[in-house]
């Protein structure tokens, strides 16, 4: 397995409050890894460090051996909110990373629109984000992140803002699309079920300042069916994690 992203001994404080203390995580090619922790523990802060938006106080981030600590633009990063530009039509929102890197508008639109169907967004191309439902906005943000075209994807609570029913359909959709595009992904969540269902590995983040206290490997084969959540196996993982979080 090829190791893509590696963060070692990350520490980060804000003013006098230490948020992260000696955090190390890795991501291998093709893996989906979850970062599980209660809200406020510092998950987003870790993502900001990994993506280079925030400089850690100490520690390094490497991508395939190259030091990218504090350098933005190396990873595809989907932030906690969908953050679609309200004044741009969905197609131009989705094509944003292409437009920013200098691709002509016509070509950017063509490349973006060829993916709308696969991402369940057909027919929304020339609508404004405000006209879409929460699930659709989330998928548009996901497609935009995908079009950043980086090898590693960071997703910060991609399903967190959705109601339960929409969320479970999004899980189904996500499992299906990840089987098609196989992105190496780190995904933040505070939902145990979501972590077990979607990931190959789970890091459990706890404490203040936060540490990675445990790592759990989910051996269930991929592609996974949504029925996985109903199995004994699933329940066993869930119990194990609940124990660890106690």
């Amino acid at each position: 397995m090829r190791e893509l992203l590696k963060a070692e001994h990350i520490a980060k404080s804000y003013s006098d409050k230490q948020v992260l203390k000696d955090i190390s995580v890795t991501l291998n090619e093709g893996e989906i890894v979850s970062l599980l922790g209660v809200s406020g523990v510092g998950k987003t802060t870790l993502f900001n460090v990994l993506s280079g938006l925030v400089m850690p106080d100490s520690g390094t981030v490497t991508l395939e051996g190259e030091d990218i600590t504090g350098k933005a633009g190396y990873l595809s990063y989907m932030l906690q909110k969908d953050l679609l530009l309200p004044h741009k039509k969905v197609i131009d929102n989705v094509a944003l990373p292409l437009l920013l890197s200098g691709v002509r508008k016509k070509e950017a639109r063509e490349r973006a629109s060829s993916l709308f169907e696969q991402f369940g967004l057909s027919g929304t191309e020339y609508k404004y984000p405000a006209q879409l439902s929460g699930g659709m906005r989330q998928r548009a943000a996901f497609l935009r992140t995908y079009l950043c075209g980086k090898e590693v994807v960071l997703l910060d609570e991609p399903f967190g803002a959705l109601d339960t029913i929409t969320r479970s359909s999004m899980h189904e959709w996500y499992l299906k699309i990840m089987d098609e595009i196989r992105l190496s992904t780190i995904l933040i969540t505070h939902d145990i079920d979501e972590a077990v269902l979607l990931s190959d590995r789970i890091y459990i983040m706890r404490g203040s300042p936060a540490l990675i206290t445990d790592e759990i490997v989910i051996t269930e084969n991929k592609p996974r069916s949504p029925e996985f959540v109903l199995s004994e196996e699933f329940l066993r993982y869930k119990k194990q994690i609940k124990e660890l979080l106690r």
Binding site: N48, S51, G52, L53, A72, G73, L75, Y77, L79, Q80, K81, L83, L85, P86, H87, K88, L96, P97, L100, S101, Y128, A130, Q131, L132, S133, G135, M136, C148, I165, T166, S169
Partner: protein, 262 residues
Amino acid sequence: MKKERWIPLAVIAVFLLVWQLGWQFEWVPRYMLPSPVMVVQAFVSDFPLLMTHAGVTMLEAFIGLAAGVLLGFMCAAMMDTFPKVRAGLYPILVLTQTIPPVAIAPLLILWFSYGMTPKIILVVLVAFFPMAVGLMEGFQAADADMIRMMRSMKASRWQIFWYVKFPNALGEFYSGLRIAVAYSIVGAVIAEWLGGFNGLGVYMTRVKKSLAYDKMFAVIFLVSAISLVLMGLVRMLQKKTMPWNYLKDTEEYKRRTRNEEF
């Protein structure tokens, strides 16, 4: 909303009626208050003259407005980009606003004589402030997460401005512009009062001297009509350039898509 449009119209109709009756029964001496009908007559008889003067006033207002908006925009962009510029300039901008334009107008006339220049400069001054402050506040209010998202995509400063900050300030831009448009016409008229050869303000001082109340009223209504029309134009421009701001059916649309989705 639409249905209630008739209420202000009715109020205006009643007002005109009372005015006409007041004139009819001489509640006020006739030489002081003309009737609405007389005002309309004065407007019609002086129409070509009024239009010539209005043309001059509007030209001053437009030139001043364009320059004021441009300067305001540049100033706002500078204040947004450089915190030091903002710290130095913003308090001064607020402070200078306590100086009423009427107070500087005579000075401008003394400095720049009776041509169009002092009028245009006054309009620049009154239009500049709402634009500079409104735009800067719009730029500053851009969502920090939105900017973070842009930075994660390696967007340049200019791209962040163009994709996030400027669109975020558009609403403020138009609010500022509506105020600036109204101020600019009033500013030009005030400057014309104090001396000049042409313009609605000059016309006003002339009819005042001859105690032509009917013409006085006619020009007052003309000035306010011009302001109203221009503000309406700004609103139309806003609707045209910010279609996402007027998605009236959004809620209904959301409900529909939510049902057919998943």
